[in-house]
């Protein structure tokens, strides 16, 4: 990779980040943030991390941007009272307290930079990394070393990760309890609806290929599940928000989500029962298969499927809980606005 080109991409990255901070309009900032996410995923693929690049593109610049936009439109809907969504703030010159904060931030940056300098920017591979690189294929049967680390060597982290999403989805449905679906919107025009009917099966096919091939190529349950959730978001945007809610009850999604989690934990328990340890793969008797073929990797494809089911259902129900309109927003007086 040409260093000048890389430098240019990094400069662009910093420029989008700064513009996301300085733009006056929130909507523009959100779009700048999305561009930042896409650039970041390009940087990840330059840094030889295809798995991470895919995840970043799908989750951070796709899913999170759409949630940002939903939140933005939710706050724009209520127009009563004063609306400070577009607080226009001139950033120059900085106020004094902002100068202090600026110096704190610069000091923090210097401090963090000082931490890397003694290492001479070179990374130490360490025992663990060497072990993964040399033995992952033999010990787990998966071609994708990152998937082997994520679902086999450090599978326990992934269980925690699932629990984080589960907590968030539960929490957001708590926060939006007592709200209902907005049934007025009928979606976009005929052209868009017909052509999306052609595209959405392809999206779902793509999602399932990412999930099922997680042990062979970059991708896996998280990425595939998020793409599935994106298909569900497309339903909401294109066919109107009541389209999917009328067909798939939220309870079905919650059931799918819980089933995915329990499936994951159950696969882990098999390892515990055979005495090999929680979430054990080859040692627990899962057939490892031939490395590089579709049926290989022991429990990794199964775990990927569980995660894909859980993430897809979870993120889609998260989106649908946020799309709902708040009714009876609050009781009592909010803090006295000066």
């Amino acid at each position: 990779m040409n260093p000048a080109l890389t430098g240019f991409i990094f400069l662009l990255l910093i420029a989008t980040a700064v513009s996301a901070c300085l733009m006056k309009d929130i909507l523009s900032s959100v779009i700048a943030l999305s561009v930042f996410g896409v650039l970041l995923s390009i940087v990840f693929s330059i840094l030889q991390a295809p798995d991470v690049a895919l995840t970043q593109a799908v989750i951070n610049s796709g899913m999170i941007t759409s949630i940002f936009l939903v939140a933005y439109s939710q706050t724009m809907k209520v127009r009563s009272g004063e609306d400070n969504t577009r607080v226009i703030k001139t950033y120059y010159p900085f106020r004094t307290d902002e100068m202090v904060i600026l110096f704190i931030c610069i000091g923090l940056g210097f401090f963090l930079w000082k931490g890397i300098v003694p290492m001479g920017f070179s990374s130490l591979s360490g025992d663990a990394a060497n072990h993964y690189i040399n033995f992952a294929g033999v010990e787990t049967g998966a071609s994708n070393i990152v998937a082997a680390v994520l679902f086999d060597y450090r599978g326990f982290d992934t269980l925690g990760e699932i629990a984080v999403i589960f907590t968030t989805v539960t929490g957001i449905s708590i926060l939006f309890e007592g709200s209902r679906y907005h049934r007025s919107s009928s979606g976009l025009s005929f052209i868009v609806r017909r052509s999306m009917a052609f595209v959405i099966p392809l999206i779902i096919l793509y999602a399932s290929s990412i999930v099922l091939m997680g042990h062979l190529s970059p991708g896996g349950g998280f990425q595939g599940g998020t793409v599935l959730a994106t298909a569900s978001i497309c339903f909401c945007v294109v066919y109107g928000s009541s389209f999917e809610a009328a067909r798939i009850h939220p309870w079905i999604k919650e059931t799918l989500e819980s089933t995915g989690c329990l499936f994951f934990a159950g696969l882990g328990l098999i390892g515990l029962c055979t005495g090999a340890g929680f979430l054990a793969n080859g040692a627990a008797g899962f057939p490892l298969g031939t490395q590089g073929t579709f049926i290989s990797g022991g429990s990794i494809p199964l775990l990927n499927m569980a995660v894909g089911m859980k993430v897809g259902a979870g993120l889609s129900s998260l989106f649908y809980s946020m799309v709902k309109i708040l009714e009876a927003p609050f009781e009592g007086i909010p803090g006295e606005v000066e």
């Binding site: 976009l188 025009s189 052209i191 868009v192 052509s195 595209v199 392809l202």
Partner: protein, 116 residues
């Protein structure tokens, strides 16, 4: 498959793509209103990205990878016009009119539908 002729064709396709992207970037900055800007922005994908993808498809060694790239190109071809159409329609419904509009068929259609 990496003969000099193929490389030449591929690079010229890519150059064409880069030209389209640059032109659309200039267009987005220079054009006066939403619709003309959309028109310019669409070129970045249908012109720019497609040519660059074709060039890349010529250069990559295996036919599987080329097929993948062509699939991506097909996907672009389907989704990009839809997106632009949706944006333009949303803009119109939001009340943004093209600057020097002489003909307004869509407005008439909408009015007729509302009358029904």
């Amino acid at each position: 498959m990496n003969g000099p002729v193929v490389r030449l064709i591929s690079f010229s396709l890519m150059t064409l793509g880069v030209f389209f992207s640059l032109a659309s970037a200039i267009g987005i900055v220079r054009f006066p209103d939403v619709y003309t800007r959309l028109h310019a922005g669409t070129k970045a994908l249908t012109g720019g990205a497609l040519f660059i993808l074709f060039g890349a498809a010529l250069q990559c060694g295996s036919w599987q990878a080329a097929a993948k790239i062509l699939l991506i190109a097909g996907f672009f071809l389907v989704t990009n016009p839809i997106a632009t159409h949706a944006i333009a329609r949303a803009c119109y419904r939001h009340g943004i009119l093209p600057e020097p509009a002489h003909l307004d068929h869509y407005g008439k259609t909408l009015k007729r539908r509302d009358l029904k």
